[in-house]
C-alpha cells in the first residue's frame, strides 16, 4: 500500500468511523439484560442441558478430578435422596462448584443449578451466558433473599431441579468459614426440599481467590501478592452431611443456624476426625481464631493427606 493511501486511511473519520463521545456529555449506563434480570430459562432446555451434560461429564468432571483429586466422605447421604435437594456448602474458591458437581451422583449432577452472584457471574452477557451454559448458574443477590431470585429458585425446586447454594454469600477472603445468610433455609422452609450440608476443604489451594489489587493492599503498591488466580493441583476433601429438613413449624430463622452448625461440624471433621468433631464443638476449628489476618491464615490446618491410589492388581492373576 502506498504511503499516500496509508495516510488517507489514517484520516478516515466520522461518519465513516464511529462518532466520538463529547467529554461534556455523561455516558448513559448500558442497558443490557444482565445481572439479576438475566433470563436463564434457555439453559434448562434440552439442547443446553445436553451440551452441559456432555461438557460436564467429558471436560468439567475429568478436569476437576485431575487438578483437585477429592476424598469424598458421606456420599451415601446423597445416593439415598432422589427428589430435588438444596446443597449448602462453604465457599472458598471458584473450584468449589466443579468439585461439588464432580462429587454428585449422576442423578443429581445433571439436574442441578448453581445459585451464583448476579453481580459477579452475570455482569456481562458473555459471562452470564457461559455461567448459565457451563454451570447451569442462576443469578441471585449475595446479601439478601430478594423476592425475584427466591421466586425463581423456588420454581426450579418445584420443577425438580436441585440447587447448589453457598450461604456465605461469596468466597471466604481468608480460608475460614463465615456466617451464613438465610437463603438456603428460606428455600428449604418454603419448598420442603431437604438441605444437604457440605464442607469443601482445600479448594482454595487449587484456585485461590484473587488477592487484593496491589494498590489496595495494606502494604501499599509495593505489596507482594504473589498467589495469583493460577490453578494448582492440590488434593481436596468433600464432606457430605446428612440431609436436614425443617422441623414441623420451624421457620427459616431457626433452621438457618442448624444448617450452619451442620456445615461447621463437617468443617471440624475436616480439621480433625469424625469423632473429635462431634465431641468438641470448638468454633475456632471452623471459623478460625478471632485475630489479625495473618494469624487467621497461620492457624489454617494443614492439608489432609490424600491416600495415594494403589493400582488394583490384575484379577484374577494366574501365576
Amino acid at each position: 500500500m502506498s504511503s499516500k493511501a496509508l495516510r488517507r486511511l489514517g484520516s478516515v473519520r466520522f461518519p465513516l468511523t464511529r462518532p466520538t463521545w463529547p467529554a461534556t456529555v455523561p455516558r448513559p449506563p448500558k442497558r443490557r439484560k444482565v445481572g439479576l434480570d438475566y433470563d436463564t430459562a434457555w439453559s434448562r432446555r434440552y439442547p443446553a442441558r445436553l451440551a452441559r451434560a456432555i461438557l460436564t461429564d467429558n471436560v468439567t468432571v475429568p478436569l476437576t478430578r485431575l487438578v483437585a483429586p477429592a476424598v469424598i466422605e458421606g456420599a451415601a447421604a446423597l445416593s439415598r435422596v432422589d427428589g430435588p435437594v438444596i446443597i449448602a456448602a462453604n465457599h472458598s474458591s471458584h473450584a468449589d462448584t466443579g468439585v461439588l458437581i464432580a462429587a454428585l451422583p449422576l442423578h443429581l449432577r445433571h439436574k442441578v443449578v448453581v445459585a451464583a452472584a448476579s453481580d459477579y457471574f452475570f455482569d456481562t452477557p458473555l459471562k452470564a451466558t457461559m455461567a448459565a451454559l457451563v454451570l447451569g448458574a442462576i443469578p441471585i443477590e449475595r446479601t439478601k433473599v430478594s423476592r425475584r431470585s427466591a421466586a425463581s429458585a423456588l420454581e426450579l425446586l418445584a420443577d425438580g431441579w436441585s440447587v447448589i447454594i453457598y450461604p456465605e454469600g461469596g468466597r471466604t477472603p481468608d480460608g475460614w468459614m463465615h456466617d451464613f445468610k438465610g437463603g438456603a433455609a428460606f428455600l428449604s422452609v418454603r419448598s420442603g426440599a431437604p438441605v444437604i450440608p457440605v464442607y469443601l476443604e482445600g479448594t482454595a489451594r487449587v484456585l485461590p481467590k484473587r488477592p487484593v489489587e496491589r494498590g489496595d493492599a495494606p502494604g501499599g503498591s509495593g505489596s507482594e501478592s504473589a498467589s495469583s488466580g493460577r490453578i494448582r493441583r492440590a488434593p481436596v476433601s468433600v464432606l457430605i452431611g446428612r440431609a436436614l429438613t425443617p422441623a414441623e413449624g420451624e421457620d427459616a430463622r431457626s433452621f438457618g443456624p442448624r444448617i450452619e452448625a451442620a456445615v461447621a461440624e463437617l468443617g471440624r471433621e475436616a480439621a480433625t476426625d469424625f469423632w473429635t468433631a462431634r465431641r468438641d464443638p470448638d468454633a475456632a476449628l471452623t471459623y478460625g481464631p478471632d485475630a489479625a489476618a495473618w494469624r487467621r491464615a497461620w492457624a489454617r490446618p494443614a492439608p489432609r493427606a490424600v491416600a495415594e491410589r494403589q493400582p488394583l492388581p490384575d484379577w484374577p492373576t494366574q501365576g
Partner: protein
C-alpha cells in the same frame, strides 16, 4: 424509557461534527470548540389510544363550555374549520390528526342528527390545498362525503359575499371573517399546535380572516413588537389576535375549539438519525447519512426536493383538549413547552442555524429566497422565550443555498417581490408604505389566489415582515453556501464556509465571539435566561 429532555452541549475536542441542514441536503460541520449546541428534547411517547383521547376531550371540555354532544342538535348549522397545509411539518403519516378529530366530531354530529355541516380549510391568505392534500388531511372518507356536495370549502379571503364584518376593536382593527363560519350555530375549529405560536384566538381571527382584517397585525410595526411569536404575553401579534378573538366571541360566534399537540417525532425509520445526537449514531445511521447526503448533493434540486417532500413525519398525538378557546389554548401551550422547551443560559454573540427544505409555506413546493429569510429570521430566530438566543447586535449565520428559484404556481407574487421590491428596498417599513397596497390589490394575484393554488399577492410582504424583529435585533445576517447575488439582494452577506462566516462575523461582534447552534429540526423552544 422516559424521553430525555433537551440540553445544551458544550462543544469540545471530542465532540463529533454537528449535523447541519442546508436546504435540500445536509452535511456535518465542525463547530469551534467552546460553542454551544442546543439539542431538542426527545419525542414524547405517543398516546396509546388517540381516538379514545379525542372522544374524551370532546365530552369533557376544558373551560366554560358544554360537551360537544350537548352543543349539537338537529336543524343546526355546524361549521368545522381546520388548519391548512402549513401544519404539521413535515406533513404527518396518515391518518392525519385532523382526520381523526374531524371524524370524531362528525360521529357526534351524525348521532345528534345534524344535517347542515360544512368543512372549511382555514387558509387565510395561503394557497388553496390540492385534492390530494385535502384527502391526506381529512381522509378519503370525509373528503368523499363532503366535497362532492360542495360542503368542503377553502376559505376565500377575497370573496366579499363570503365574508362578514363583525366590528372594530378598540384599537381600530377591523374584524372580518368567513361568513359561513361566523353565522353558524356552532363553529368547531380543529387545530394542530405544532409550536407555541399556533392556536388560541389566532385560529379564527387569522385563519378565517380577510386581507382587510389581517393587515392590522401582519405589518412591520406589530411584528417588530412580537418578542417572540412563541411567547404570547410578549407578542403583539397575539395581543391583536386576542382582541379580535374576543370581539368575535362577543359578536355571538359560538366557537368550540379543539387543540392538539403532536410529539416531535419528525423523521421516519431510516431518517431517524436526523433527530439523534451525533455521538449516538449507529453504523446504520452513519451509512444512511452518507448515502442520503451524497444522493441529495448529487441530485438536481428538483429531484432532491421531491425526495425530501415525500417524507412523512411519524408525528403522533400527544395531547388534545376541547372547549373554550382561551382555557384550551392555555393548557395546550403548556404541553407544547413541555415537549419542546430547552433551558438556555444566557445569550450568545453568534447564532447558527441549518435551514431545512421545508417551512410552513412551501409544503410540496420550493423554499424560495424570501421563505429562506422567513424560515431563518422569522421562525428559527423566534424559537425563544425571554430573550433571543443571540444578543442584540449579534450575528445570525444561516446555512442554505438560497438559489433564486420560485414556484410560479404557488408563489407568483414572490417573483415580482424579489425583482421589483427587494431591488428597491429591504426595509419592511418602506416596502409596507410603498409597495404593499399594489401587490395586495393586484387583480391578477387575486385571481391566482382564488382560482389556482397561489399564495395571496401580499404574502411575500408578510414573510418579510416576519423577519422585522430579527433584522432590527441583529447586527448582520450571513448565509453560508447562499447564492451571492440573491443573498446580497436581500441585504444579507454570503459566505462559502463557516470559517469565512465566522471571520465576517468578527467584524461585527469582535474577536473571540461566543457561538450557539440551534440543532433543529426536531422543533425546540429556547427558554433563554
Amino acid at each position: 424509557m422516559r424521553p430525555r429532555p433537551g440540553f445544551v452541549l458544550e462543544v469540545d475536542r471530542s465532540t463529533p461534527p454537528t449535523l447541519m441542514w442546508k436546504g435540500e441536503s445536509f452535511g456535518l460541520v465542525k463547530l469551534p470548540a467552546g460553542s454551544r449546541v442546543v439539542y431538542a428534547p426527545e419525542p414524547f411517547e405517543a398516546l396509546e389510544d388517540p381516538e379514545g383521547a379525542i372522544r374524551h376531550a370532546l365530552e369533557h371540555p376544558t373551560g366554560d363550555s358544554a360537551p360537544l354532544s350537548g352543543l349539537l342538535r338537529p336543524g343546526m348549522r355546524l361549521t368545522i374549520c381546520f388548519d391548512d397545509i402549513s401544519l404539521p411539518l413535515p406533513p404527518m403519516e396518515a391518518p392525519d390528526i385532523r382526520q381523526m378529530v374531524i371524524e370524531a366530531v362528525l360521529d357526534a354530529a351524525a348521532a345528534a342528527g345534524v344535517d347542515d355541516v360544512v368543512l372549511i380549510a382555514a387558509l387565510a391568505l395561503h394557497r388553496r390545498m390540492t385534492e390530494p392534500e385535502l384527502r391526506h388531511a381529512l381522509g378519503d372518507r370525509v373528503y368523499d362525503a363532503f366535497a362532492p356536495h360542495g360542503q368542503l370549502l377553502q376559505h376565500d379571503a377575497e370573496d366579499p359575499s363570503a365574508l362578514v364584518h363583525l366590528g372594530v376593536t378598540k384599537h381600530g382593527e377591523d374584524v372580518e371573517i368567513n361568513k359561513r363560519a361566523a353565522e353558524s350555530d356552532l363553529l368547531v375549529y380543529v387545530n394542530i399546535n405544532l409550536v407555541a405560536m399556533d392556536g388560541g384566538h389566532k385560529s379564527v381571527a387569522t385563519g378565517l380572516a380577510s386581507y382587510r382584517s389581517l393587515r392590522h397585525h401582519h405589518n412591520p410595526e406589530t411584528m417588530t413588537h412580537s418578542k417572540s411569536f412563541m411567547d404570547a404575553p410578549a407578542s403583539e401579534l397575539h395581543s391583536a389576535n386576542w382582541r379580535m378573538g374576543r370581539l368575535i366571541r362577543d359578536a355571538g360566534v359560538s366557537i368550540f375549539q379543539i387543540e392538539t399537540t403532536l410529539n416531535t417525532d419528525t423523521f421516519p425509520g431510516s431518517f431517524q438519525f436526523l433527530q439523534k445526537r451525533e455521538w449516538e449514531w449507529s453504523w446504520k445511521d452513519r451509512a444512511t447519512f452518507l448515502a442520503a447526503s451524497k444522493a441529495l448533493d448529487a441530485a438536481p434540486p428538483k429531484m432532491a426536493r421531491q425526495m425530501l417532500h415525500s417524507i412523512k413525519a411519524p408525528h403522533a398525538l400527544r395531547s388534545v383538549y376541547a372547549g373554550e378557546v382561551e382555557a384550551v389554548h392555555e393548557r395546550i401551550t403548556a404541553d407544547v413547552w413541555a415537549q419542546q422547551g430547552v433551558a438556555v443560559d444566557g445569550q450568545t454573540d453568534i447564532v447558527t442555524m441549518g435551514l431545512p427544505y421545508i417551512s410552513p409555506y412551501n409544503v410540496n413546493s420550493i423554499l424560495n429566497p424570501i421563505l429562506v429569510a422567513c424560515l431563518g429570521l422569522g421562525y428559527f430566530f423566534n424559537l425563544y422565550r425571554g430573550k433571543p438566543v443571540v444578543r442584540e447586535g449579534g450575528v445570525a449565520i444561516l446555512f442554505h443555498p438560497t438559489r433564486p428559484e420560485f414556484h410560479p404556481g404557488h408563489h407568483p407574487s414572490y417573483i415580482d417581490f424579489f425583482e421589483q421590491v427587494l431591488t428597491q428596498t429591504t426595509d419592511p417599513v418602506a416596502m409596507h408604505e410603498q409597495f404593499e397596497e399594489s401587490f395586495a390589490t393586484d387583480p391578477w394575484y387575486r385571481h391566482l389566489y382564488r382560482t389556482g393554488h397561489a399564495y395571496h399577492g401580499v404574502h411575500p410582504f408578510y414573510m418579510w415582515y416576519w423577519c422585522s424583529h430579527a433584522m432590527k435585533h441583529l447586527g448582520r445576517v450571513i448565509i453560508v453556501g447562499g447564492d451571492p447575488a440573491t443573498v446580497r439582494r436581500m441585504g444579507f452577506h454570503p459566505a462559502s464556509t463557516l470559517d469565512d462566516a465566522l471571520e465576517m462575523a468578527k467584524d461585527v461582534v469582535g474577536p473571540d465571539p461566543t457561538l450557539t447552534h440551534l440543532h433543529t429540526p426536531p422543533l425546540l423552544l429556547a427558554d433563554v435566561t
